[in-house]
Symmetry: C2
Subunit: 475 residues, 2 copies
């Protein structure tokens, strides 16, 4: 048996042992859908920059097409075209504030991936778990295509396609496809597909459940066919553009990028696109015929097509914006699919918050008034009414409310404030507020200008084919 | 000051301290001729193959364009387009026979390069020093363009351009340009340019001295101009072909290579060239319109142009063969320059031995009879007579002889036998004798088919520009 098969089988066994209480077997979801032969076809790469500590350790793993930044250790794992971004990890000497605890850090935080398989997964941010502030672990975990593990230590879990775990420590959980969970800490849960859950115990609790049948046409995971649906088709149709970018040794600059903005070498940019000051375009982002105003950002796996973003916009990991006009400060959450049509564009007003994992796919022109929160599945004007609320009205809620499949309890104003704070923070770290005369507001957009990318490659022959040598990289 | 300058200055100081007895200052030879800015322009690469232990350690060094294979540690050093080939290192468990000593090896031999600068230098083979069988060290040493350090541990030395140290441990020595030394052990010597010296104490001693003035037109090193001369011009004129090869991410196969032969991905092959079975073409070899017969080899930095090699030929590191016809089994030593002309080809008979660092540059057609030893500078028929001897006659010498600038003492037959044994060994390890039904005679030509090449890259910005991260690579 090839070594890479042994690594894979051991991961599957570890995950299944962890999920035995849920009687969940991951094998059928992966056995036929992960092609181990592909593991030797792609090089991996890592970033070097003066601003982020460099400390990479790869042990007995396959890393095909994956990207690493910062302080990361990968052992006995298979990473396929995944992004492990340690640019927001906590540093030695920092103080991590968790409620009334001030936690001093004795060492740099480490992303520690062990006996896990991550397929096209984004790992980012830092561990928000006060129990493990210096180690953002991902252990005995299997994550499928386009899942996000965001500030979320994980032990013994399975994430379906397009699942996002955000600022949540999870143990022995199954997260269904297209579910978004932000809940502090979860254990032994089997989360249904299309569950959108934002819970801050004692403060607020937001829950939306996608209608199962209708979600299937967008994304569905079956043991027989693997991940299918419109979201997969949409990405597949644009795959070739990425192949061109990853195959090329050197690329010509296709557009002008202002000095304070950064465009990753592994992003696709098609004409005619404009990148303004303080814009950040991450690797694996896809821009086509769009305008990105000052301080807008386009994160990993996002698609922005025939659209206009006026500035200060967040396009979170995996969000897709097509045929849309977004006014200033619009936030589009993880994996949202804003599917405007050429004849029926989608208009989103200033300061709107599009919740993570929102799908807007309408055959009529929709116009969302400014400062509106939108969630769930919206295919027409009526559903937009059902699945949205003005921030003004949301703030007034002090007990609970429900609209359609959405249930909310707790303090609406705390919820809105939490979101606004976070958006502010995201814009800040991405460098949206940079001014020439104030270095304190430098962010990724400015720092990534000085990011260089280096490659590493696997064994190409024999029993170890597709596995990488054990490589340690220090400054 | 940039880190790379600090590394460089420290090396220069270390070498000068070692050479203080010879009152030799290396600074003027390198200060203006080594462009530190170029150190960040090229990636380095390393080979992975099942047949050779993988154990690479790079510490605080610049590695621009260099190549590594096997068990190597590079620290506080600058390597520019150098080849560090650890494919013939001794292995743990081997017994190294030195005269009547049988030395058991407790660990794999390591090429250990420390505080040294190597410019376009080839490091190959293994330590022939019985005092240091497990560590082939190169320490406090500076080697200029196209020098060869072949099985030769070195401490505190300076090698001029095209100098070769072969199977010789050296301490605190200056080796002049185009000198070839094979002498077991040397200390505190300042070897004049163009000295060809093969010494086996108690057995034989071969010494030839190039006429200084005439050598200068081929190769000369001055503090003002650096290395100059016909040899440098010859290589410079063909530089672009290599740039094309090193810049390309993927190359199309230009010629058919038999299954049992190997053509390195970083060799230049121009039409119309034929590669026969069991042929080995190493990286940085240049082949143009030539025929390489069965089991011939073309080693690093060699050029074979408009020539025909019938088979079983050795073209050692840096040898150049132009407009020549070599019969079977002809050996052409390190850095030889066989400069035939289209209208006056050079004909070399079966079994001839062209000594390392031989220059044949004639305006008349020369034909060298079979089984002849040739050395030194040959520009016409008369000089060929003076600088050659039939192996038959050489074998008869039991005391001493001299011809022109050549002096020989000791046993001619032992000298011839030593050469013949070595040629046989070289052909063997290179895989020239491979037959499909006998795996025991596999060599580099067969094994290199399964060699994969991986890249590593330096810091591209800031104070560390051109220095590589500290990288450890293990299987």
């Amino acid at each position: 048996m090839y070594e890479i098969e042994k690594i894979f089988n051991r991961i599957i066994q570890r995950v299944n042992i962890n999920l035995r209480d849920l009687t969940f077997d991951v094998s059928p979801f992966v056995k036929d859908h992960i092609n181990l032969e592909k593991m030797s076809e792609f090089y991996a790469f890592y970033g070097i920059t003066a601003d982020i500590p460099l400390n990479l350790k790869f042990i007995h793993s396959g890393l095909a097409g994956s990207y690493f930044l910062g302080n990361c250790r990968i052992s006995d794992s298979l990473l396929y075209k995944s992004d492990i971004r340690g640019d927001e990890l906590k540093r030695k000497g920092d103080t991590f504030q968790y409620k009334h605890f001030s936690i001093d850090l004795a060492k740099d935080e480490l992303i520690d991936i062990e006996t896990s398989a991550l397929i096209k997964t984004l790992v980012h941010n830092y561990s928000h778990d006060p129990e493990t502030p210096e180690r953002f672990f991902i252990k005995d975990t299997l994550a499928l295509d386009y899942s996000n593990i965001h500030g979320a230590p994980s032990d013994g879990c399975f994430l379906g396609s397009f699942a996002t775990i955000d600022l949540t420590t999870m143990r022995d959980c199954v997260i269904g496809p297209y579910s978004y969970i932000q809940a502090g800490e979860i254990n032994h849960l089997n989360v249904e597909p299309g569950t959108i859950w934002v819970n801050s115990p004692g403060q607020f609790n937001f829950l939306y459940q996608y209608p199962t049948k209708r979600l299937k046409q967008y994304i569905h995971c079956s043991p027989e066919k693997g991940p299918t649906g419109l979201l997969i088709d949409f990405i597949e149709a644009r795959k070739d553009a990425f192949n061109t970018i990853f195959d090329a040794a050197n690329l010509e600059d296709t557009i002008k990028v202002p000095e304070n903005a950064s465009l990753d070498r592994y992003a696709v940019v098609l004409p005619s696109t404009t990148i303004s000051e303080n814009v950040l375009v991450a690797q694996r982002a896809y821009l086509e015929n769009s305008y990105l105003g000052r301080g807008a950002n386009a994160q990993e796996h996002c698609f922005i097509i025939n659209s206009r973003l006026e500035g200060g916009n967040v396009t979170a990991h995996g969000a897709k914006i097509i045929e849309a006009d977004l006014d200033e400060g619009v936030f589009v959450g993880f994996n949202s699919f804003l599917f405007g049509k050429p004849e029926h564009r989608l208009i989103i007003g200033k300061g709107c918050v599009i919740m993570p994992h929102t799908i807007i796919d309408s055959e009529e022109t929709l116009s969302i008034p400014q400062d509106t929160l939108v969630w769930g599945l919206v295919t027409n004007q009526q559903e937009l009414q059902e699945n949205s609320i003005s921030l003004e009205n949301l703030k007034k809620i002090e007990t609970h409310t429900n609209q359609g499949n959405m249930f909310f309890e707790g303090s609406g104003s705390t919820f809105v404030q939490a979101f606004k704070d976070r958006i502010q923070h995201i814009l800040e770290v991405n460098g949206a507020f940079f001014h020439e005369h104030n270095n304190n507001v430098k962010g990724h957009a400015q720092n990534n200008r000085k990011l260089s990318l280096n490659n590493i490659q696997p064994f190409l022959f024999g029993n170890m084919q597709g596995v990488y040598p054990d490589i340690t990289i220090l400054p």
